[in-house]
């Protein structure tokens, strides 16, 4: 662990993320403004303008171009960063698959926001969830500190030669992006010791010319995709490994792919991703104080999906209440439906109660979370799964 005293500041998660990009010695930034992400790029632009960061800020006319330009910088062999939200992430969709398929280890921060229509600038996680199958590692964070720490870890994970996949760090719009919290900002030397310079496997190299991204037919195509899947699965181990290493250097540990909280002997647990975890912790504490056997599982990695960790954590639980700030229309919340698939072959799986809530920036109150857990406590094992919109 570092012996230096890190700076502690009241800053938003957006500012924390900008600090992380600077500490990661990112050399190329390309981003386009969108609420609630905008203050990240404003901050980075101001770092560069004041000479506090040595990087190129590429002026682009859209998110599609922002992500393309970052991929181009990676092809030239330098570390790049971009961030966006909502419609911006949707607009990047085509390039998200290009980046992951090309195995370019980019890091993108998505400040989660609802997706039009109906149009809303407020937070939910529909934007990130709609990119689930683009091949990006997706990690959801709870606080400004975790968002900052995960950006630093994301470069290590993405650039690991066993992985070479892009990482999307998600933080919740407004709850994190516009709320100041006390954040510990590590010193540059410690970050440098944790995150070595980018060591690309392949670049556009005039001395060693290659066609670095190309077409593939039949078995070549399938082989490429199988390798991509193997890397995405392997990423689960590497996320844990890098998290442990981060804890050794900086003293903060977030629990790997999932973070179970007070799950010992729990009959019912609430599962969720992102900033609302803070509220759920308090609700669980209160219900535990009342003698109720409830717990919480914060799902941190959504892709790769932590199948084994969740099966282990839920094998003895009677019922799971899953809060989704998103929906796969025509099926259910993405976390709940993926969880159901993960638990499929458990001999005696928990009852599954899916709650869709916090959509379009709606508050999810402690009372609502208590309601979910009460319902889960009352559910019997083997009961058919349910789905309920709680914002109405």
């Amino acid at each position: 662990m570092s012996t230096r005293t890190p700076a502690r500041k009241y800053i938003t998660a957006n500012e924390a993320v900008a600090c992380a990009a600077r500490l990661a010695r990112v050399e190329v930034i390309a981003a386009y403004p969108i609420t609630p992400q905008t203050t990240i790029v404003e901050k980075l632009a101001s770092f560069i303008a004041r000479g506090e960061m040595d990087a190129d800020f590429i002026k682009v006319e859209s998110e599609h171009s922002a992500l393309t330009a970052c991929m181009g910088a990676r092809m030239a062999g330098v570390r790049a960063f971009t961030s966006t939200s909502s419609q911006g992430l949707e607009y990047m969709h085509e390039m998200l698959a290009y980046v992951s398929g090309g195995r370019y280890p980019l890091v993108l921060v998505n400040v989660c926001r609802s997706v039009a229509l109906p149009w809303s600038i407020w937070g939910d996680q529909q934007d990130a969830i709609q990119q689930r199958d683009t091949g990006w590692i997706q990690i959801f964070t709870e606080t400004g500190q975790e968002a900052m720490d995960m950006v630093l870890q994301a470069y290590r994970i993405a650039e690991d030669h066993r992985i070479l996949l892009p990482v999307m760090i998600c933080l919740d719009g407004f709850i994190q992006s516009h709320t100041e919290e006390l954040v510990e900002i590590p010193d540059q030397e410690s970050v440098d010791s944790f995150l070595p310079p980018y060591d690309p496997v392949v670049t556009l190299d005039v001395d060693n010319p290659h066609t670095i991204s190309m077409g593939g037919f039949g078995k070549h195509y399938a082989a490429w995709r199988r390798e991509q899947q193997a890397a995405a699965e392997k990423a689960g181990e590497v996320i844990v490994e890098v998290g442990d290493e981060f804890a050794r250097v900086f003293g903060r540990h977030y629990g790997g792919l999932i973070e179970p909280y007070r799950c010992e002997g729990a009959e019912a647990v609430i599962l969720l991703m992102g900033a609302l975890t803070g509220t759920a912790r308090e609700v669980v504490d209160e219900m535990r104080a009342d003698g109720q056997a409830v717990g919480l599982i914060k799902v941190r990695a959504f892709r790769p999906f932590p199948v084994q960790s969740l099966r282990q954590a839920l094998s003895l639980v009677k019922a799971a209440a899953v809060l989704d700030r998103d929906c796969s229309w025509g099926y259910g919340g993405a976390l709940a439906t993926d969880l159901k698939a993960a638990l499929y072959s458990l001999p005696n799986p928990p009852a599954m109660l899916n709650f869709i809530g916090g959509l379009g920036g709606a508050d999810v109150s402690p009372e609502q979370m208590k309601y979910m857990l009460d319902k889960a406590l009352a559910a019997k094992k083997g009961a058919p799964s349910s789905m309920e919109f709680i914002d109405l």
């Binding site: 181009g72 910088a73 990676r74 030239a76 390039m95 005039v206 066609t211």
Partner: protein, 292 residues
Amino acid sequence: MKLKEISREELFRSSYGCAGCAAVLAVRLTLKVLGRNCVCVVPANCISTVSCYYPQTPFFVPMTVMAFAATGAALSGISAGFRRRGREDISVVGFSGDGGTADIGIQSLSGAIDGGYKFIYICYDNEAYMNTGIQRSGLTPYGATTTTTPAPCFETESKKDMLRIVAAHDIPYAATACTSYPLDFMQKVARANRVNGPTYIHVLAPCPTGWGFAPDRAIELGRMAVESGFWRLVELENGKLRTTHKPSRRRSVAEYFAAQTRFRQLSPEQIEEIQRNIDRRQAAGQAFSATG
């Protein structure tokens, strides 16, 4: 540039291009000028379709395929990356077709010129989406049939004037060219390569498959396009437009149209009107126009 100065080294060879493909020729000639110290970006188009399928590639310089709409931004990003690494000596060149330039890629191109990084954007123009089977693009000329403007109808809008569009960005260097005038084209590539900023070259590349002429006539067709005034060879440097080649003989548009099948459905009166438009534009000395 003289003929004997042209490099004998082939850095783009053995593609699956159609016989007589002038787009392939445009890439080959460009790389003869830029040499090995360059990297290429090729979005969805004929070039990427006839070249880069694992495990084969006709490119002997570093190359990447790119999303259809993304050429400009990719050039910016790669150029920024090389700038960071102190390798601004490397030429970063894109080869985009007419649809990839004037339609789906126009936003990214505009953003990239505005972004100011050093690159050469080459639009090879075969006047339709040839790779997907000859569909009309924003650069299909008035009067041409395509599979989405089929006979007895034809394209009813005139060709977008990309030169004027890029000129409106205050681009440091832009030019039109045609593969039938290789020295003129290659000289323009060499000039663009000396500019420390965004540059644009629009090269007309006759397409035997899409235009309807025999593969051995691609050079002749390009010459007819210029000699008929249908296409002009100009250069725009720091806001000044210069004609780089004035054809010594004039042909009629009717003669150019008759040499290919895609204008067959035009009546003599319609062709005469096109001729009058070209004559009028030429008489007016219309600035910044690639056509007429």
